[in-house]
C-alpha cells in the first residue's frame, strides 16, 4: 500500500446546489415561482402564511411544509384550503434540522405544480443550516421575531445575508419588550445593507398588506425576476 494525494477542489455543498438547480428547472418549466421561508423555531412562519394565504386573488398558492415531525403546521394551512404537502425530515440522518435540495426533490411528484403559481416552502425552524442549503427557490424570506433580540443579524449573518426579504415579526409586542427596533435595523444594515424589510404582526395584522403584495409580485409571472 502507498498513499496518494488527490486534488479535488470541490465545494462540499456543490452536490446540493446541483440538485437545487434541477428543482429550479422543474419549477420554471411548470411556471411556478418558489419562496423559501426560514426562521428560528416559532418566529411566526406559519402564522404569517396563514394570515395572507386566502388573500392572494388570482394567484394559486401551494405550500410545502418542512417539519422535523408531525403535521400541525400543514393542518393549519390545509384548514384554509391551501394545498399543502408535508415533508418530515426525521427519518433521514444528518440533516434533520433543515430541508435540502434532495428532500424537496423527493416531494416534487406530490406537488401538483401545474395547479399552482407560487410555492412557499416553510423550512424547518433553524437559523443556520437552511441558509446553506439551496432547494431551488427563486427567493428567500426570513422571519425574525423581535422576541429574539436586536443582535440576531450579527449572530447569524449567513442567514440574514442569504435573504431577499426580512419580515420583522411580532411587532405588536414592541411596547412590552426591551427590544430596540432602531438598533435591530442598524445591525441588519451592517450585515445586509439595504435589504428589503417589512415590520409585521401576524397578531394585529400590521404590515400584512405589504407582505401579501410582496408575495403577489413574486408569484405573478410578468414581474417575477428572471
Amino acid at each position: 500500500m502507498h498513499r496518494t494525494k488527490v486534488r479535488i477542489v470541490e465545494g462540499a455543498l456543490d452536490a446540493n446546489d446541483t440538485i437545487a438547480q434541477a428543482n429550479r428547472a422543474d419549477f420554471d418549466r411548470a411556471d411556478v415561482r418558489v419562496v423559501n421561508l426560514m426562521s428560528a423555531p416559532g418566529a411566526g412562519k406559519t402564522a404569517l402564511l396563514e394570515r395572507v394565504a386566502t388573500d392572494l386573488p388570482g394567484l394559486r398558492l401551494g405550500v410545502l411544509e418542512g417539519d422535523v415531525e408531525g403535521s400541525m403546521d400543514a393542518d393549519r394551512l390545509a384548514a384554509l384550503h391551501v394545498p399543502v404537502t408535508q415533508l418530515n425530515t426525521a427519518p433521514g440522518f444528518g440533516g434533520e434540522c433543515h430541508l435540502d435540495a434532495n428532500m424537496v426533490r423527493s416531494a416534487l411528484p406530490g406537488l401538483a405544480l401545474d395547479e399552482i403559481d407560487l410555492l412557499v416552502i416553510e423550512n424547518v425552524g433553524n437559523l443556520v443550516c437552511p441558509a446553506e442549503f439551496r432547494v431551488g427557490e427563486d427567493a428567500r424570506v426570513m422571519v425574525s421575531a423581535i422576541t429574539e433580540g436586536e443582535e440576531k443579524p450579527l449572530k447569524y449573518p449567513l442567514m440574514f445575508r442569504a435573504c431577499e426579504l426580512v419580515l420583522v415579526n411580532k411587532i405588536d409586542l414592541l411596547p412590552h419588550l426591551d427590544f430596540d427596533l432602531d438598533k435591530f435595523l442598524y445591525n441588519l444594515d451592517q450585515v445586509s445593507p439595504g435589504v428589503e424589510r417589512i415590520l409585521v404582526s401576524a397578531k394585529t395584522g400590521e404590515g400584512l398588506g405589504e407582505w401579501r403584495d410582496w408575495l403577489a409580485r413574486m408569484g405573478s409571472p410578468v414581474e417575477a425576476p428572471a
Binding site: A12, L13, A15, F93, G95, E132, P153, L158
Partner: protein, 119 residues
Amino acid sequence: MHELSLSSAIVNTVVKHAAGRPVTVVSMRVGALRQVVPDTLDFYFGFVAEGTVCEGARLEQELVAARLRCAGCEREWEIDVPVFMCPDCGPSGRVEVAAGDEFEVESIEVEEAECIAPR
C-alpha cells in the same frame, strides 16, 4: 449543529472521489463566514465517517479569513466582525465577498493498492 449536516456533505463529496480507496486525510478550506466551529466539525466528521471510506481519516481545516471588496471604490479589506459595509462608500457601496465563504474539499489522501503496474 450545522456541523453535522456539513460533515455529511464532506463525506459524500469525498466518497465520490475516493472511488472505493480508503481515505487517510481530508483537507478542507473553510471560510470564516461559514461560521463553522472547527472542533465540532471534527467531531461530527469522525462520527459521520464511520462505515465509509473516510472512517478514521484525519480532517484538516484551513481557515480562510473573510475579505470583502467594494464594487464602487474597489477597496478590499478583511473583516472579523459581520459588518458588510464599505468604510468609504457606506450603504451606497455594493460590497462583495472576495474570500471567506469557501467550504471546499481541497484534496484527499488515499491508500492505493501496490498492484498498479509501475511505468
